[in-house]
């Protein structure tokens, strides 16, 4: 479904992503794990067109995205919940969701909204509230709900557990599993390697801009290297 081929991304003269390749197949949950600064978010931003790779290519549903502007990528079925959520803090919950459906025909809006509210009842309760007044967990739900409004085939989540209490992290991961069961393919970036590996079909480990290890979620969760480096074992 998603094929990333040998991308190299630079911030000015800093070579942030080095020859990274990976794939996501339909129906999978794939996770990219790695320490802070390893380049996980940079990779997602390159896939969604906010950053450009100098060489290499990003293919989604057999179409090359390298020259597609960022605002046209979401309508291809690829939604990105960015790091730090980046919801529109001064707009209401419902207006945020409206923006999520920006590329979709108006006729399906009510049904999409009802779906998102069913999945996240908290958002329905707070739909007239300004998004900036929501708690961290609610903001993450809003960011995910906003992305779902575009009916993505591939949902990319960047650190959905960041800054949340363990109970909320569990809730967010339950939602991710539910979405996956409902047929959404998921690319998950996480620092919380343990949680990420527990839900992932496959995983890639990133270290200073390079993929150093890959395998199934279960394999990596058992690997000594991973235990030492990321799981505190």
């Amino acid at each position: 479904m998603l094929k990333v081929n040998n991308i190299n991304v630079y911030y000015g003269s800093i070579h942030a992503i080095k020859d990274v390749s990976f794939e996501v197949h339909p129906g999978e949950i794939v996770t990219l794990i790695g320490a802070n600064g390893a380049g996980k978010s940079t990779i997602l931003q390159t896939v969604s067109g906010l950053l450009r790779s100098k060489t290499g290519s990003v293919e989604f549903l057999d179409q090359d995205l390298s020259n597609v502007p960022a605002h046209k990528i979401v309508s291809q079925g690829l939604a990105h919940v960015p790091e730090g959520r980046r919801i529109f803090l001064q707009m209401t919950v419902e207006d945020n969701l409206t923006m999520g459906a920006f590329t979709r025909p108006g006729s399906e809006f009510d049904a999409s909204l009802a779906d998102v509210y069913e999945r996240f009842p908290r958002l329905k309760e707070r739909r007239k509230q300004i998004a900036g007044t929501l708690s961290g967990g609610e903001q993450q739900m809003l960011a995910m709900g906003r992305a779902l409004m575009s009916h993505p085939r591939l949902l990319m989540l960047d650190e959905p557990s960041m800054g949340l209490s363990p109970i909320l992290v569990q809730q967010i991961f339950d939602i991710i599993t539910e979405l996956h069961k409902a047929g959404t393919t998921i690319l998950l970036v996480e620092q919380n390697a343990q949680m990420a590996l527990s839900v992932a079909d496959r995983a890639y480990v990133l270290e200073s801009g390079k993929i150093v290890l890959s395998g199934t979620g279960a394999e990596l969760a058992e690997s000594d290297e991973i235990k030492k480096a990321y799981l505190g074992g």
Binding site: P69, H71, A79, F88, D95, T98, F102, S150
Partner: protein
Amino acid sequence: MITFLNHLINGISLGSIYAIIALGYTMVYGIAKMLNFAHGDVIMVGAYVCFFAVSSFGLHPVLGLVLAILICTLLGIVIEKLAYKPLRQATSLAVLITAIGVSYFLQNAAQLLWTSNPKMFPDLFGGAAIRLFDGRLTITVGTLVTIAACIIIMVVLTLFTGKTRMGKAMRACSEDKGAAQLMGINVNRTISVTFAIGSALAAIAGVLLCSAYPSLVPTTGSMPGIKAFTAAVFGGIGSIPGALIGGVLLGIIEIFAGAYISTQLSNAIVFLVLIVVLLVRPTGLLGKQIREKV
């Protein structure tokens, strides 16, 4: 008392013009995060277009206004495309200097095309007026139209940004361009629309301004432009109601300062008030506190 009322009405009228100009500044700042110092000169172009349409071609003033709006809208879009868009990734200082350059360019182009001899702008409202209190209080139709125009524009813009899809997309862009792109919003087009709206408003302001103060020269727009910028900062730049409040207050202060303190000092007093407000409330009257993200 009657004189006071008279000054108050004049102040509100002048302030309404400042508010309409300030809206252009504030919307462009809100979306593109830049100060478009050429905005005042777009006003001047609008006034010249209307002047020639009415005086030279004998068109109806309403038609003159429509023409001015069309040409200024186009001008705004072209300025943004040619001068500002290539600088999207540049430092804000580079953009600011470019804006000042565009401002000088427009003024000098106007001087070449239309000379610096003042043109007498026609009174579009035929001098009609309402007289109250045995004729001691005169309110011209021009004044009423100006205030009404300001109110209508405010209401329409508030509805546009609050209720429509495009308006919401503009607010989304003003908060976070990256996230807006992830929603599928075309940021470049949104910026272009913002410039178009701001420049259309500038044309309206130019026509209203010159009907009230009829001497039209290539630098006609610069002082009102700076004052409207002041009004936008005064009210809280980026805020639409802030532009209204800032503009109207500034107009009232200017007229009162001229009437009760000194005509020569009225501009100085206007800017003094700005300095005091910014010392007390650096984000302006309705400005949002900008918090650093952690």
